[in-house]
């Protein structure tokens, strides 16, 4: 390996420059306010967790985890998401009784990129977890909050695709009979390989009606008749419960008045085993990756010793910023340039302005190499230089 240059950073790690920091902070505070307004309480968890606990329980693939060893030789991970750490805290501490718990976070998470650049390995995620409520209203609440959080951030055009893991699982189980074969079909959907799915269905020893049922699954999209179309794929009662949940979900979302932002997509499979019910992804124009996702994960809390259901979502702040492409605001600090004989006067002015919440830089003129270029960056410049009473004033 070649020697590193001093400016190099590990792959996927990025600096946040001041103007980006400002934009990020601005968006973060809008989203945070919205989540707080819905009664979600923010918390922080450690950056490092055990691989055996949080690493294993997380929805993120093992090859994407950053791992290191502690002094005792235990494997640690840089947290790849916030859901598993929050499940850990909730199950072991916060969940006093089995009543609903509303938690929110805004934190950096870490996912290694093996292939190439172009994607950050550390990024900020904001999200909520609604723990201990297995009703459809809980799923609807998180989706409605996702919509209002994105709107609060200033995003206008976005779509949330909603599916249901249990519907897909039961439909497949009904047609192909075993969990193994059902999983094989789910794998094609998870891989987004529709060509492979169709070829696999063709090759199965099934009646042509059953093959048609499997093929039709891929074409069911949109709000209008999706749920009825999906119902038509089923025989008997098995699999109708998830559809009834989706139906109720849509009704609740109508009451929240956010149904225009969502679309039913029953073939959506965003993870092989993590989600247990309703799941969703959010997309915006101009950004090639999903801005965020979420869903119901009823098995996760069990792993940490609390047998309660939970649902939630996470938004990627970096992609959200890309979707918003906010305008860089100009440097808004005022500048006070002073010379040493009028230093006290400069300090007083600075304090006076800061008291009015104006951001002020006080700069000794002797410390500036090129005064013209330096002052050109500021709109508001106060010259407090030279003998007092003479020369001073504003430029």
């Amino acid at each position: 390996m070649s020697k590193l240059f001093m400016f190099e950073k590990p792959m996927g790690m990025r600096d946040t420059f001041p103007h980006l920091y400002k934009m990020k902070k601005n968006i973060r505070s809008k989203v945070e306010n919205e989540m707080s307004a819905w009664g979600y309480q923010f918390l922080e968890t450690p950056t490092l967790e055990y691989d055996e606990t949080v690493g294993e329980a997380s929805a993120i693939l093992d090859q994407q985890l950053f791992k290191l060893l502690d002094q005792q030789g235990r494997t640690l991970v840089l947290r790849p998401d916030m859901t598993a750490p929050i499940a850990r805290v909730a199950a072991s501490k916060l969940l006093q009784d089995r009543n609903p718990l509303r938690l929110a976070y805004s934190a950096n998470v870490f996912r290694a990129q093996q292939r190439e650049g172009g994607r950050p390995a550390e990024f900020e995620q904001m999200g909520v977890e609604l723990i201990g409520d297995s009703s459809v209203s809980a799923d609807a609440e998180t989706i409605a909050l996702l919509v209002s959080s994105l709107k609060a951030a200033g995003l206008k055009d976005f779509t949330i695709s909603i599916g249901h893991m249990e519907f897909v699982r039961q439909l497949f189980l009904q047609i192909v009979g075993t969990e193994d074969r059902s999983q094989q079909l789910r794998r094609y959907l998870y891989d987004k390989n529709y060509v492979g799915y169709r070829k696999h269905v063709e090759s199965l020893p099934l009646s042509s009606i059953d093959k048609q049922r499997l093929m039709r699954l891929l074409t069911i999209r949109g709000n209008g008749s999706s749920i009825a179309d999906a119902r038509a794929l089923l025989e008997g009662e098995q699999g109708t419960k998830p559809l009834a949940e989706l139906q109720e979900l849509i009704e609740v979302l109508q009451d929240y008045n956010v149904e225009d932002y969502v679309t039913i997509d029953v073939s959506l499979v965003s993870h092989m085993s993590y989600y247990t019910g309703v799941l969703f992804e959010v997309y915006a124009d101009r950004v090639g990756y999903s801005l965020g996702n979420g869903g119901r994960y009823n098995h996760l809390l069990q792993k940490f010793g609390a047998g309660v259901g939970a649902t939630g979502f996470g938004i990627r702040l970096d992609y959200l910023m890309e979707a918003l492409s906010p305008q860089a605001s100009e440097e808004s600090s005022a500048l006070i340039l002073f010379s040493s004989e009028r230093r006290k006067e400069a300090m007083e002015l600075a304090n006076e302005l800061r008291a009015k919440s104006q951001s002020v830089i006080s700069q000794d003129v002797r410390g500036v190499a090129d005064v013209d270029r330096f002052t050109a960056q500021f709109k508001d410049v106060h010259w407090i230089v030279g003998q007092s009473g003479k020369a001073g004033g504003r430029a």
């Binding site: 390989n193 060509v195 997309y283």
Partner: protein
Amino acid sequence: MKELTIAMPKGRIFEEALVMLKQAGYKLPPEFDDSRKLIIEVPEENLRFILSKPMDVPTYVEHGVADLGIAGKDVMLEEERDVYELLDLQISHCYLAVAGLPDTKMNEVAPRIATKYPNVASSYFREQGEQVEIIKLNGSIEIAPIIGLTDRIVDIVSTGRTLKENGLVEYEHIVDITSRLIVNPVSYRIKHERIQEMVDRLDRIISKQSVL
């Protein structure tokens, strides 16, 4: 109507795909084929084409700079990109195969394989219970066994003529390859109607041709 950007591989697949798009009723300019430009706008259809190396098509689509792309299954297997594979276009038929000099065995200690497809080759041999050493080449793969670089090669075979002319024989057939229509996951949701229309129009052409 939202504009669609389509990444197309230069060369043979491009020509065949172009014929299909025209058959599907897309009005594309006649001088399209021999243009040297890398980006071609077709305002009449609100389409934009990006011409690229075949291996790069899924990269453009995954990162969302192209909504759709046409890529060989060989490239899809090698690159494992996060994109939807919506349609088998049934063009550019060929297959991936293991080939080598006739009547030779693989080295038992460290079998060596030359290929343009390191991922596909190593996972294929792993599935056969064999650990091999991959040597990546970018072209003229057939030369590797002849000059003694490797025991076998893994490469695309369409007619088998190139193998024959270089005195190689095919040992194993890995997988059949055709070109696929691939789609960025966000575009698939955001521009669903236009994309579905294109899929349906192409699908009709494919079914018509497979009947013939």
